[in-house]
Symmetry: D2
Subunit: 131 residues, 4 copies
């Protein structure tokens, strides 16, 4: 099961008046993790769209365990499962770097579609890279 | 089970290069729904924070059924369940207004905490309003 | 000089840990104002893009006078100047509704381009509506 | 005049349906540049807020020269001017890394305030570091 880690810092604009990162931004960070994983696998999401295949999200889930704060350095760990037809599952863990505390877990489900929104098999090359 | 509906339009900045609303923004829209529900119940979230009670999200879930597009008028329907201790469950449905198409469903789980992050019972008045 | 006003409420996710709206969101609100103005003029921005004309921003400017806070009801006043060639200037004022306090002023400059990014004259109909 | 460079990649959620980065996100990137500069100077913005000094933005300006696209690697160059009383000016340039193309320039003006919003002199240590 391919896995990638990447790092990012919590931006000021990602905090809210509770003085922690706002919950919607975790989905942005998941996307940073996905992009990083695909790039490392050897077929970036930019490449995938160049073949007129898109991977819209059909489901997202996130559990928020501990708050992330401004300027925290985070590590996003992303895994992708063997695709089932047009469906692709990504799983995520977000840790705070200095103390390795687990802050959040989540997953997203994607369906490969063509430029008219019709479900399509994943590009053969991507399926091979994931397997 | 208290219920609220409110409307919003998809902003240009909420779209992405797939020409549909980006998935993280649905969580922002859920928050608009929650705020609207609490305001209508008679105790706005602003009022709740004035009593030094906060309702951070501990879990979010969204299913994306059909894409929302720029300038679409959306209706957010929000329901809140009877609180269990410090826990509160909100459920959401997002419809496109002109044709009533259901675009997304989701829920968020919140835990009431004080200003030091300690779990707390909900303000008595809010519990009463929800029941 | 065509003018439009519209209202919106500050969302929780638009605040930051300074407990005020984060500065980048004012540009989102300006866009809400532009969209509202064009819709009222009779040619929505969605219509404009359907004619394969786009209005990317080439310059933005904002002065932040007083902070906007969560749940504040804001009024966006938007004006558009008579176009000069492909160039279009929008000007904005943001007031807090209950007390009419002026919170921010700003402007954006846009250039009409076709789908390959080449400058183009504005759609004739839009120019007429603005004049 | 202290200067810092840092890099970031354009996120998918930062694009819009024009297939380029949405204009408001440049202000988020400016903030990444400011945070990076202050951290490198030796007094992070987090440290500044710990001394109960805040640096809200009173003015922002951005010129958008060429579009930034999804997955583009960007270099943010940030400079800060010698403070005048409570006022602080940051200037920014955003380049696309592979070809060094200049995509945007801008600046932000900040005023140091205390936790009640009263203008305050900058922390002495920060003034020294900037000079």
């Amino acid at each position: 099961m391919p896995q990638n880690t990447c790092q990012l810092r919590v931006r000021y604009g990602e905090t809210d008046q509770m003085r922690v990162a706002y919950y919607a931004h975790y989905l942005n960070w998941f996307e940073v993790g996905r992009s990083s994983l695909l790039r490392e696998l050897g077929m970036s999401y930019r490449d995938i769209e160049r073949e007129a295949i898109f991977l819209p999200v059909v489901e997202s889930h996130c559990r928020y365990l501990k708050p992330a704060r401004y300027d925290d350095l985070l590590r996003i760990t992303t895994r992708v499962s063997r695709p089932k037809g047009a469906r692709l599952l990504f799983e995520y863990e977000i840790h705070r770097v200095p103390d390795q505390e687990l802050l959040a877990t989540g997953n997203t489900v994607h369906v490969a579609v063509d430029d008219r929104g019709k479900p399509r098999r994943l590009p053969e090359r991507l399926s091979r890279l994931i397997r």
